[in-house]
């Protein structure tokens, strides 16, 4: 029966404390440690490499040795649940947030969240942006029931730290240097065409886009953004979305009947 051997084999792959499973052999009488280690190494190195590929700025911030050791702890505790490695590490940022050795780097998990969002944006569905002329055609008396459909790749990562600046400095987008103004930054990650773009959002922008992504009307999203930031600038935030090519459709609801 292979099934019990396979179960022991699988369990030992990610747990070096377990002995080499029974039922294995070689053409000599030599012990099997190094042969079984070849599989253990392939599994662990392959998964650690996958995380290094997905989180290059995070790795650059802590250095390769620290990153790979941390990734190895994650891999053994959270191996993939899907054969699609492009999704592996979606929960790595949460792991980093709870990993005590990174406590001195409270921004690190949020930089990793930004990087995880970049991979999702890279593989997200394609959609063509609405032309500004199509948006200009919207009748002003229908705007209160208007919902904008955003590009499937669009995601927001909010942070108490300057994550867009830190990411840019550690991904070659911007020169490495002192972070002149250490303040919260909210990131908009999207791939309107074929290149993943990262932008720092203006105040209230994150709340606004999160509401639009949740399917709220323009009015509801703008109201929520104003509650989040009193100086939210609706025109500027809309211009950002239109300019970035992230509005891909709209739906208009019939005006609600006023309650008596």
């Amino acid at each position: 029966m292979f099934a019990p051997v396979q179960s022991a084999f699988a369990a030992a792959l990610l747990d070096p404390e377990r002995p080499v499973p029974a039922g294995l052999s070689t053409h000599t009488a030599a012990p099997l440690n190094k042969r079984f280690a070849a599989y253990r190494n392939n599994v662990v190195v392959g998964l650690v490499n996958a995380l290094g590929t997905r989180f290059p700025a995070t790795q650059r911030i802590v250095g390769e040795e620290f990153f790979r050791a941390m990734a190895r702890v994650f891999v053994t505790a959270h191996p993939p649940r899907s054969p699609l490695l492009m999704t592996y590490g979606d929960d790595f940022p949460d792991f980093i947030a709870g990993f005590p050795p990174t406590a001195e780097m409270p921004y690190l998990a949020d930089v990793a969240r930004l990087e995880a969002a970049r991979t999702r944006a890279y593989h997200a569905a394609d959609a063509a942006p609405l032309a500004p002329e199509e948006i200009a055609c919207l009748k002003s008396d229908s705007l209160q029931g208007l919902r904008f459909l955003l590009h499937p790749s669009a995601q927001v990562v909010r942070s108490a730290h300057p994550i867009v600046t830190l990411w840019a400095m550690n991904s070659g987008e911007r020169e490495l240097g002192p972070v002149e103004d250490w303040r919260p930054e909210d990131a908009l990650i999207a791939r309107p065409r074929l290149e993943v773009e990262v932008r720092a959002l203006p105040v209230g922008g994150a709340a606004f886009i999160v509401q639009l992504l949740a399917g709220q009307t323009l009015e509801e999203a703008a109201t929520a953004a104003l509650a989040d930031a009193g100086d939210f600038d609706l025109a500027r935030n809309l211009a950002g979305l239109i300019g970035a090519g992230l509005i891909t459709g709209f739906a208009i609801e019939e005006p609600r009947k006023e309650l008596p």
Partner: protein, 285 residues
């Protein structure tokens, strides 16, 4: 009706996105490109843009690495459905997978793990291959693995196991000559003996790649299938030996790690083309 695997009998290369610009900058002397299915299972973006361009210009082989055909457990139906969607979209000339397992329970191990060769596993693998072929509506190719260990319970030589799966299911075979060399070395066997048992007439694609050299607990050579280096001379010799018997067969160069510049990979493919060309003209003469 099942679609037969039908790659052109020329050299091909495993596509790496880093080579995309070089590849499309000229007409390449290649019969096909091969991609790993799982990297094209996202909804959109650059992977599909690049694959669509390659597919328009060359024959395509879709090579799965995550279906876990060698597991005693049922196939992952959701994954099989993704493979079907990918094959339906790109209509590849060939689809192939490995005689190996990679998932157990909920966990995906991201490695091609070995199985014993017994009547029990033969029945199970054959069922899985049937299921794949029925779902995809096409013939698949099954690839011989690199192995670092054997199983005490094995009773069937690997080459005969593959022949039996092919007999039962009608699948074609993907002969990885580097894997033959790696496994033979690791198990103190003779690669030529293995090839003598192998049903070469079922081979519709060949893989060539590099390996890493380590040692086992007794200091005996332990070769690791790492796809990080050029094909070694003994593997080229085995390849020529195979091609002399089969005639020209679609031949893939695999270089997945420490990937060099495009011209270096292309040079490996051209060496395969030269061997295929010699065999082709010898056959014609």
């Amino acid at each position: 009706m099942s679609i037969e695997s039908r790659l052109p009998a020329r050299a091909g290369v495993g596509f790496k996105p880093v080579h995309f610009r070089d590849i499309v900058a000229a007409v390449q002397p290649l019969g096909f490109f091969e991609v790993h299915a799982e990297n094209y299972m996202g909804a959109g973006g650059p992977p599909h843009a690049q694959l669509s361009k390659l597919r328009a210009d060359y024959a395509l082989s879709i090579h799965g690495v995550g279906l876990s055909i060698g597991s005693p457990r049922p196939l992952d139906r959701a994954h099989l459905a993704r493979l079907k969607a990918l094959c339906d979209r790109y209509q590849p000339e060939s689809f192939s997978e490995h005689l190996a397992w990679s998932s157990h329970g909920e966990v995906y191990y991201n490695d091609l793990l070995p199985l014993p060769y017994t009547e029990e596993t033969l029945a199970r693998v054959s069922e899985h291959v049937d299921e794949v072929q029925n779902t995809l509506g096409r013939q698949m190719l099954l690839e011989n693995p690199s192995t670092y260990l054997m199983f005490a319970e094995s009773t069937i030589p690997e080459a005969e196991f593959l022949r039996a799966v092919s007999d039962r299911t009608g699948c074609g075979l993907l002969l990885d000559v580097n894997n033959v060399f790696v496994s033979a070395t690791n198990h103190g066997a003779d690669a030529l003996d293995y090839l003598a048992r192998f049903p070469l007439e079922r081979v519709k694609e060949i893989h060539l790649g590099g390996h890493d050299e380590q040692a086992d607990d007794a200091g005996a050579p332990l070769l690791i299938d790492a796809h990080q280096a050029p094909v070694v001379e003994p593997v080229w010799a085995l390849y020529a030996h195979v091609i002399a018997r089969t005639g020209p067969v679609a031949t893939l160069i695999e270089w997945d790690n420490d990937v060099p510049e495009w011209p270096r990979v292309l040079a490996e493919a051209q060496r395969a083309n030269a061997i295929l060309g010699t065999a082709g003209s010898a056959k014609a003469a």
